[in-house]
């Protein structure tokens, strides 16, 4: 029998980023005893990296803004693949979630009349992002962290114990969600510091673990982004959807090599920064796709006027959704018009006075000065695409954030559906708050319902999980996990990256399969106390599972849409919009087979009143003929992708 540290809670939140903390606050406010588990120290979550702001249609800067407009922008950004209900809830609830932060002590930048200032961002029709300079994520995390501390202070006054109802287990890693029958019964994991195992008995578990970027070589994500929640959900029997959609942020640093991938905030462009190739040309004007042609400036003059007068001018194409800009940069570099280090120039120095740059973009100024020795007030930055965000994630009920496994909830980046095929900047922080709260609320309600008959943790599962976790110490002559990780990152970057081809993805699947076998034999040195080699060996399981989902789904989807670009299928196909690709764990994979099964699911039709927010002409670009409102007979035929249709009929390949 494995020796473990044992705790009991009502709700366990895995992950202490924006979504996790918001969920924990909600569960605790509903009186549930809540545990927060995080791999890093409390307050270090990847959310701190978010720079631009929180999208919420408060209408403080432009009173034309409302939730319907926000909803519309979100659906357009996601190329209509979004779950409409999530997009609706998100747009409706975001303002309340932002205002609530102020009551917890957040200090956003202000408008002249003292309200929360809002800034422009790619894909948002009006200035919509509540922000604090370019460190909004830090403000969000700190505010939630301090709110949790204040709840702990309340408990201290009431019970004499800060941790009576909310406890943070920092530097703990969860490796398994445990189940009693069909239902969640708790979590198993290890303490990073001591290497000791722990089990928390709990009827409700909220996954809020963020993304998967560490499977790619060039990424803006931190080491924590190893797809833990995605993998835990798969292993617990839940589905992942939309995993083929990976957002490459157009502007990551490209030099020096050690910081390659680190984000350059979109606010640089929102505040006037322009993209130029090595010929000095503002190339984005050549890359405005048809669906956006009416919404963006066609000349530099008009684009420049927009910064001063947004009512009468269209925005410059530098502010197109991220996928468009990332592809454009990719094409320019491929065409040989890149910078010496393989990026393009992003220039704000000729557009704003130095003082203004330092005031509006302090952390960008600091980042380039410190890390690249570049003064952005005097010279252009070199930027290129970097893996930034995964739109796909756990398939959840939009209202309750519950997965298909009773008791398992997911919110934030680890949940899928909200952003469709591409996320708009600023929609992530609002997503965390809206669905973090919902997950916490419904997890608390679920825990209430389960209180009578709590599932129990099965000792066999604990022993199996412990054995799995200790395997790397007993592997004889196995490989170094660092080497395996580098190979995985290289494969994903090269073969399932920003532009995808059938043959390459098939090769990626083969490599992943081989890597999985090798990873099972990964060996680590030393002992269990704070041993990063061991931690990485365990994370590899998650990264490999998730990478396989991405590659399999990407191979299957034969169109280009948002964060999924196929060189061999460059067009968007309306038929494919109706299809969601869902990954689940393969039952008993034969050696050499994948660990993942892919299924096609129907994307639920958009509610009529929401569809009515769009013009029919616009809908025609996205929907099939019979989905259009009042499907008229004399409409021109849609671009039918015969191949896609055939696949749909045949169902999944695996």
């Amino acid at each position: 029998m494995t020796e473990v540290e044992r705790h009991g809670f009502d709700v366990v939140v895995v992950g202490a980023g924006g979504a996790g903390l918001r969920a924990a606050i909600e569960a605790r406010e509903h009186g549930k005893r809540t545990a927060i588990i995080c791999k890093s120290l409390f307050g270090k979550a990847h959310t701190v990296m978010a720079e631009g702001g929180i999208a919420a249609s408060m209408g403080n800067v432009n009173d034309q803004d409302n939730w319907q407009v926000h909803f519309r922008d979100t659906m357009r950004g996601g190329k209509f693949l979004n779950h409409w209900r999530m997009a609706e809830l998100h747009a409706k609830e975001a303002p309340e979630r932002v205002w609530e932060l102020e009551t917890w002590g957040a200090l956003f930048d202000r408008t002249k009349d003292g309200r929360i200032s809002q800034r422009n961002f790619g894909g948002h029709e009006y200035p919509r992002l509540a922000h604090v300079g370019d460190r909004t994520g830090l403000e969000l995390i700190r505010t939630l962290q301090q709110k949790i501390v204040s709840l702990q202070q309340e408990d201290f006054r009431e019970f004499g114990d800060y941790e009576a109802r909310i406890k943070v287990f920092q530097e703990y890693t969860v490796t398994r969600v445990l189940k009693g029958g069909d239902r969640v019964s708790g979590v198993f994991g290890y303490q990073r510091e001591s290497g000791r195992f722990f089990v928390i008995d709990a009827p409700a578990v909220v996954l809020a673990t963020g993304g998967i970027g560490k499977s790619f070589k060039v990424t803006s994500n931190s080491w924590e982004y190893t797809g833990d929640g995605h993998a835990l959900a798969l292993l617990a029997g839940a589905n992942l959807i939309n995993m083929e959609f990976v957002q490459f942020h157009p502007t990551g640093m490209v030099w020096p090599p050690s910081v390659k991938g680190i984000l350059v905030t979109e606010s640089v462009r929102g505040d006037g920064g322009v993209l130029r190739n090595s010929d000095g040309k503002r190339f984005m004007f050549d890359y405005i796709p048809d669906v956006f042609r009416e919404k963006y400036a066609q000349t530099e003059e008009e684009g420049d006027r927009w910064y001063q007068d947004q009512a009468n001018n269209r925005r410059p194409p530098e502010l197109l959704p991220r996928d468009e800009v990332a592809r454009a940069i990719n094409s320019e570099v491929k065409a040989g018009r890149g910078t010496p280090h393989g990026g393009v120039f992003l220039d704000v120095s000729t557009r704003l006075p130095a003082e203004e740059i330092r005031r509006r973009l302090p952390s960008m100024h600091h980042q380039f000065k410190e890390l690249a020795d570049v003064d952005i007030t005097a010279e252009p930055m070199e930027v290129g695409p970097t893996c930034h965000y995964v739109m796909g994630g756990v398939e959840v009920d939009p209202d309750t954030a519950s997965s298909s496994v009773p008791g398992l909830f997911a919110a934030g980046e680890v949940a899928g559906g909200m952003h469709g095929s591409n996320r708009l900047g600023g929609n992530s922080l609002s997503d965390l708050l809206v669905f973090g709260r919902r997950a916490g609320l419904h997890a608390a309600q679920y825990a209430d319902e389960a209180a009578e008959d709590r599932p129990t943790v099965d000792q066999e599962q604990i022993d199996a999980a412990a054995e799995e976790a200790l395997a790397p110490f007993s592997a004889d002559g196995g490989e170094n996990p660092y080497g395996l990780h580098q190979e995985l990152q290289q494969s994903m970057n090269d073969l399932v990256g920003i532009i995808r081809r059938e043959g390459e993805m098939a090769e990626a699947l083969e490599r992943l399969s081989a890597l999985r076998e090798r990873a099972e034999n990964a060996a680590v040195e030393g002992h269990r106390q704070f041993n990063p080699g061991w931690h990485l060996a365990l994370d590899l399981r998650n990264m490999l599972l998730v990478s396989e989902c991405v590659a399999r789904a990407a191979l299957e989807r034969q169109e280009s849409r948002g964060g999924h670009t196929r060189e061999d299928h460059p067009a968007m196909a309306a038929e494919w919009r109706r299809v969601l690709l869902a990954c689940s764990l393969a039952d008993k994979p034969a050696p050499g087979d994948g660990a993942i099964t892919l299924q096609r699911k129907a994307n639920p039709p958009i509610r009529e009143d929401l569809l009515a927010l769009f013009g029919v002409d616009e809908l025609k670009k996205y929907l099939t003929e019979d989905e259009l409102p009042g499907a008229e007979a004399d409409l021109p035929p849609q671009r039918a992708d015969a191949d896609a249709e055939k696949k749909t009929e045949n169902g999944a390949e695996h």
Partner: protein, 255 residues
């Protein structure tokens, strides 16, 4: 362009340890954390080190490089003396767990002891109105990434373990200043005098304003000039200023 460097990294735990030498490759444009990662990947896979964002935004990779408290991710190799051994130790104010990882629980404990923001009564969410001029000061302090380098370098606790219970440290005295300057904090209405608690409960008087906290702050926050000294001055208002004392005696309203 790359060269071979000697890194001397402290390895061990609470029981003991020593500085261990590594010969390691360094490439153009790298920071200290890159080199530590290379040691980890090629020579010492179990070398314990905390890090997250690698961009100076999360404050995880705090350590002491050549005896100076710094973020490893924000220390470019090119800024260190060329050809000389680079010594890296864990922060020396907190108990060590393993290698470069320390137990920073002291800071989380202090964070809990600072009374939280008190929302103003009767102002609903969405009705908060604040002027930019009024939030600028607190916003500077909210840039803090909680790397705890200021706590590490502060001699009050670094050199005097026994002061830890009585002294919150620069980061958390700054937190009090932040709340005291927050335009809508209603602590005073609820009977909480933040200035008094700063002095009486959180050890403001221990600070002798020798400014090491400001020197090490990777965010460039002027901790001493903008938070600690103003807080001391606010405490003086309450206790030592003759004019303020007289004013309150004859019933004049304050500032």
């Amino acid at each position: 362009m790359s060269y071979e460097a000697t890194f001397r990294v402290w390895r061990g735990d609470a029981e003991g340890g020593e500085l261990t030498d590594f010969q390691v490759e360094v490439n153009d444009g790298e920071v200290v954390l890159d080199v530590v990662h290379r040691i980890q990947a090629t020579q010492a896979p179990d070398l314990a080190v905390r890090w997250n964002c690698k961009a100076g935004k999360c404050g995880s990779c705090s350590a002491e490089i050549n005896g100076r408290p710094r973020l490893m991710c924000m220390t470019r190799m090119s800024t260190l003396p060329a050809g000389e051994t680079v010594t890296i130790t864990p922060m020396r104010t907190f108990p060590v767990l393993r290698d470069l990882v320390t137990d920073v629980g002291f800071n989380y404990q202090k964070a809990r002891e600072i009374p939280a923001f008190v929302p103003p009564q009767g102002v609903k969410p969405g009705e908060y109105r604040m002027q930019q001029a009024d939030v600028n000061r607190s916003q500077e302090f909210r840039k803090c990434i909680e790397c705890f380098l200021c706590q590490d370098t502060c001699h009050v606790v670094r050199d005097h373990e026994e002061n830890k219970p009585a002294f919150a440290g620069p980061r958390f005295l700054m937190r009090i200043a932040e709340l005291d300057m927050h335009p809508l904090d209603a602590a005073a209405d609820s009977g909480l005098d933040r200035k008094a608690t700063a002095q009486d409960e959180h050890g403001l008087g221990y600070c002798n304003i020798t400014k090491c906290c400001t020197e090490v702050c990777p965010e460039g926050i002027k901790i001493t000039d903008n938070a600690l000294i103003p807080l001391k001055e606010r405490a003086v208002d309450r206790k030592y200023d003759p004019l303020v004392w007289l004013g309150s005696k004859i019933g004049l309203r304050r500032g």
